[in-house]
Symmetry: C2
Subunit: 272 residues, 2 copies
């Protein structure tokens, strides 16, 4: 079974392993009324990655919790989008890092207003000084171990919308809260799954949309010179809540901007 905690009503139990070690994972889903953008994909990712961490939850249990959350927070007549956050932890107990067998997972559920959508005319980004390290065993999991992203996000000041983190090989891997997509003369490029800290639901959906339109999309490393060089036709940040965000300026260099992809791949068109 899974024990549900409603933010604002229930307090977090002291021994929760999410708070102690970041021993859990989370999803943020863009909602309108009682519908969620790419909701099934979010729930499927959580179940799949929970299994990788050894946290037992079934698709049915999570669906049931999601339905309760939608009924509690979703006003079918309200037009303003909101964000549903699901935080699943291994539960409370164990001796230090070592979990106790048979622990009941905790699911913390909270709702908040959605941020305003970024301008289609593009945003400013810069390179982060915080390198990104990815454990191959945890690659892609939206776990609660997000200190690298927090440290990068601290660099976001003034007009800056996002910072881009690189791995030890100097490849651009991710923004602090976004996946990357490059449009170039040679087609579309995005870093491969094995390199990612977080394998975004929006990333996967956008790749499928592009491929369904016959576009060539290659999952391979992106270097700074690929984005800043002459072959760049557009550089995009992908996020489930923010959608597709074109970058108009990177590291104080102007980039070509095309808002078309953001219009085609609007997450509010995927409400289900």
């Amino acid at each position: 079974m899974v024990r549900i905690f409603w933010a604002g009503e229930d307090s977090l139990p002291a021994g929760d392993r999410g708070a102690a070690y970041g021993d859990g994972l989370f999803e943020t889903i863009l909602m309108r009324g009682q519908q969620g953008a790419l909701a099934a994909r979010h729930l499927e990712r959580m179940v799949r990655d929970a299994a990788r961490l050894g946290i037992p939850i079934t698709r049915r249990q999570l669906q049931e919790a999601y339905s309760q959350a939608v009924n509690r927070f979703g006003d079918a007549s309200a037009a303003a989008p909101w964000v549903l956050k699901l935080v699943l932890t291994r539960g409370a107990g164990g001796r230090g890092y070592r979990p106790q067998p048979g622990m009941e997972p905790h699911l913390h559920i909270q709702a908040s207003p959605a941020p305003s959508a970024p301008e289609l005319s593009g945003v400013e980004a810069d390179f982060s000084r915080v390198p990104l390290t990815v454990n191959p065993l945890l690659a892609g999991i939206k776990s609660l171990n997000r200190l690298e992203q927090v440290m990068a996000a601290r660099e976001i000041q003034g007009e800056l919308f996002e910072v881009i983190q690189s791995n030890a090989r100097g490849e651009l891997v991710e923004g602090s809260r976004t996946n990357l997509l490059l449009a170039s003369d040679d087609g579309w490029f995005t870093p491969p799954l094995a390199d990612l800290a977080v394998a975004g639901v929006m990333r996967q959906w956008v790749l499928e949309q592009l491929r369904a339109r016959g576009e060539q999309v290659t999952e391979s490393p992106i270097l700074p010179e690929h984005v800043l060089g002459n072959g760049c036709r557009g550089f995009y940040l992908l996020n489930s809540v923010l959608g597709v965000v074109p970058v108009r300026r990177l590291a104080e260099q102007d980039l070509p901007v095309d808002g078309g992809l953001a219009t085609i791949c609007d997450p509010l068109q995927t409400l289900e």
Copy 2:
């Protein structure tokens, strides 16, 4: 200022960034009565590493909280050791990963009974299948991002006391909750600080004890063959609460055991 939460009395605020992102760090201190083993070093490490994370706390503020904790939990007449855990988080607030300027840090304080000391005759260990990745910006910090250690600790079953994690170069870096020390024909060896996920207070103290006795201690990578080869004179696990733990069997191979170092470097001799 720092806001203090006493485990068992105060509930964790819903927006705590420790629970959301592992945005914080912690110390566990072995206590007897109202004295703590290497207490000053623990408090100094927390203040220093908090500064690396940009979490504002002064040595004086932390000392004051420590004194309150000792007065609350420490029974001067009781002989049984206990463990004081201090969890410092960036506080509550911010937009997603990005912290809000001027947030008040949270200090969660809890006490628990100390685990029984391991046998001087040595323990069993094995190599972990969970690789260890260390972000150079966060190296050594006992942060709340401990999912790699949790995943490794899940491998500890039966008679096994610890599992040893390696980095991408195949070097032995750390146990899930311990630093490593090798005694060999060529002197003492321990992995260098830059490679460490957690730079243990006990590790540093033991190195100083050895050097004060004129022993040659080298901080350089340790390979499996160094421990399993003929030159090994002893392999030790170091932890502030457990002390110095000799390994008598690693990956089903017997190792030479000498309990002398554990006797010399007993953390309960460092109560202050």
